[in-house]
């Protein structure tokens, strides 16, 4: 199935894109998207532990089950304020 991957801040700079449709297995979890991203961009490996994931604008655990068309965002450590 297809999900929309969104990257921000340092993750976007390292990967070199801000948005991309990615294909994952049916019933894949959010972590599957992250693993696929880090595999394609090994420089993200050192960040992996501090990246959070959001699905459809809500923070989720990595084991969160995805649905077709979900928006999956990779959230590096935030620094607003």
């Amino acid at each position: 199935m297809n999900v929309r991957l969104k990257l921000f801040s340092v993750a976007r700079d390292i990967a070199g894109f801000d948005e991309q449709v990615v294909v994952v297995a049916a019933h894949a979890d959010a972590d599957a998207v992250l693993r696929q991203l880090v595999e394609a961009h090994p420089a993200l490996e050192e960040w992996k532990g501090s990246l959070r994931l959001a699905v459809n604008c809500e923070y989720v655990n990595r084991s969160h089950r995805l649905n077709e068309g979900d928006e999956v965002a990779v959230i590096p450590p935030v620094s607003g304020g």
């Binding site: 969104k6 921000f8 801040s9 340092v10 700079d13 959001a54 604008c57 809500e58 923070y59 965002a73 959230i75 590096p76 450590p77 935030v78 620094s79 607003g80 304020g81």
Partner: protein, 144 residues
């Protein structure tokens, strides 16, 4: 009321937004671009956001503050884009019948905003370098 803006934050409008006849105290926090960070000279900060989620999380924070304290109104405004030294990047105002709750809720809101809201700042240093805040792990512990 929560909002993101590319323009200067109108402090008076933020305070007016939470002013009600039932309120005895208003606490306002304003975060401003500081000319130094970790011993280095900063010329400006640039903020970006995952906008729809940032607004959603800010709205959740507003609700959470109302659940925890007897407040009248809450306003959270975050500026995006380039924010020069001395200008405001964020303003949070809280009104309540009594000041204790306004102070506590305002402190909670800025502390939690800094941890939860998907907004990122890039630091422009006077030596010409540009870095994401916290980009170097060694500096993360010092982050304000």
């Amino acid at each position: 009321m929560v909002s993101l803006t590319l323009n200067r934050i109108n402090i008076k409008a933020v305070v007016d937004d939470v002013t009600t006849p039932e309120s005895g105290g208003i606490d306002l926090f304003v975060g401003t671009t500081r000319n130094h960070a970790r011993g280095r000279s900063v010329t400006l900060l640039e903020y970006e956001a995952y906008r729809p989620m940032a607004v959603g999380v800010m709205e959740q924070l507003e609700l959470e503050a109302h659940r925890r304290w007897p407040l009248n109104r809450v306003a959270i405004v975050h500026r995006l884009g380039k924010v020069p030294v001395g200008e405001a990047s964020v303003a949070i105002a809280v009104s309540s019948a009594h000041r204790k709750e306004a102070f506590e809720a305002c402190r909670f809101l800025i502390d939690t905003l800094k941890k939860e809201v998907p907004i990122w700042k890039r630091e422009y240093f006077s030596d010409g370098s540009i870095e994401w805040s916290g980009e170097h792990a060694s500096s993360r512990a010092e982050h304000d």
